[in-house]
């Protein structure tokens, strides 16, 4: 599977831009994970398009995390949220890649 989403060349610029936004009046795009804590896990997702996009986003999140939060602990949720905002700002609506 070839990557459809190209990493943004300036994630630090996106992060800086996000921090300058007027968040009290602007929308903040995010990708929220869907977790189950009830002991009844979500059945495996079978939609190939969702899985393909998710794999791309997984790789991109890792790519941006390496560049923007290289020393962050895995459970640093503040850093995670910051990196997700960069991922979302760069890739939230990649219409040209949607079949």
């Amino acid at each position: 599977m070839s990557p459809k989403y190209r990493p943004h060349p300036d994630p630090a610029g996106i992060l800086a831009g996000n921090r300058q936004r007027a968040l009290e009046r602007e929308g903040i795009p995010m990708y929220l994970a869907l977790e189950d804590l009830t002991g009844s896990p979500v059945p495996p997702v079978g939609d190939a398009a969702v899985l393909a996009e998710g794999a791309e986003l997984d790789g991109l999140l890792g790519h941006y995390a390496e560049r923007l939060a290289p020393g962050a602990a895995d459970d640093d949720l503040a850093e995670l949220a910051s990196v997700i905002t960069v991922l979302a700002r760069a890739h939230f609506d990649e219409k040209e890649d949607r079949a």
Binding site: I28, P29, E35, G46, L51, G54
Partner: protein, 226 residues
């Protein structure tokens, strides 16, 4: 602990367990055209997610949608969410989620600005001179017919400051009761100030779960808790 973090989030993406959201706060009239344009762009690409869609995904691993799911979320219970954001969403056929600070709505109009300033509720400059800043319970009843309304605590409270039975009633229990009374529908989710996730504190987690909430919405996740 639930092991929340980068690895877990990456796994959720990889496994297709994710949803797009856009978090909004104030939506003043001065921003209406920009908001309409932005939401129209999302509506052109995505299908908005209802509670029934979310329940279906958790039950089956499939979204009953034709396009990727998307949730516009309007936080706090601002009057401008009711007068500007909700009508725009209606116009565009979008279902939005409204986490509201219930005591902000209860607050007498002359005291709403002081309440906002005391409870970390950001106001926009152009609305400081207005009397009413919070939506009314009639607004909640109206919005709740087409959208999802959930409590964002009673007072915009931090998890660590909810300790006593009185705190629990004020911040977790009564908000759910009030939202459900206004909308006539389930208030299925709870959101702490700062989007604290479930798994941070077993005591408060238990209170949220025991109140009947089925989901907790955090900064990085939607967690099904019951």
């Amino acid at each position: 602990m639930t092991g929340n973090g980068f690895a877990q989030h990456r796994a959720a993406l990889r496994e297709g367990r994710y949803v797009r959201v856009v978090n909004y706060h104030n939506t003043p009239e001065s921003m209406a055209d920009a908001l309409r344009h932005e939401l129209a762009g999302y509506a052109a690409s995505f299908d908005s997610v209802t509670l029934e869609h979310l329940d279906a995904f958790y039950a089956t691993g499939r979204w009953p949608l034709e396009r990727p799911g998307f949730i516009p979320v309007f936080y706090e219970g601002y009057l401008n969410n009711a007068t500007v954001a909700a009508p725009i969403c209606d116009e565009l056929g979008l279902v939005a989620w409204f986490p509201i600070i219930t005591r902000f709505l209860d607050c007498p109009v002359p005291e709403q600005r002081a309440f906002a300033e005391a409870h970390d509720i950001t106001l926009v400059e152009e609305e400081l001179s207005r009397d009413r800043l919070a939506m009314t319970w009639d607004d909640v009843a109206e919005i709740g017919q087409r959208h999802v309304v959930v409590p964002h605590t009673g007072s915009h409270e931090e998890i660590g400051r909810v300790r006593t039975a009185e705190d629990v009633e004020r911040e977790i229990v009564r908000p759910r009761r009030d939202v459900e009374r206004a909308t006539g529908r389930e208030a299925p989710a709870f959101v702490w100030l700062r989007g604290t996730e479930y798994g941070t504190s077993p005591v408060q987690d238990g209170w949220v779960r025991d109140t009947g909430y089925r989901y907790q919405i955090s900064n990085t996740m939607i967690q099904r808790i019951a």
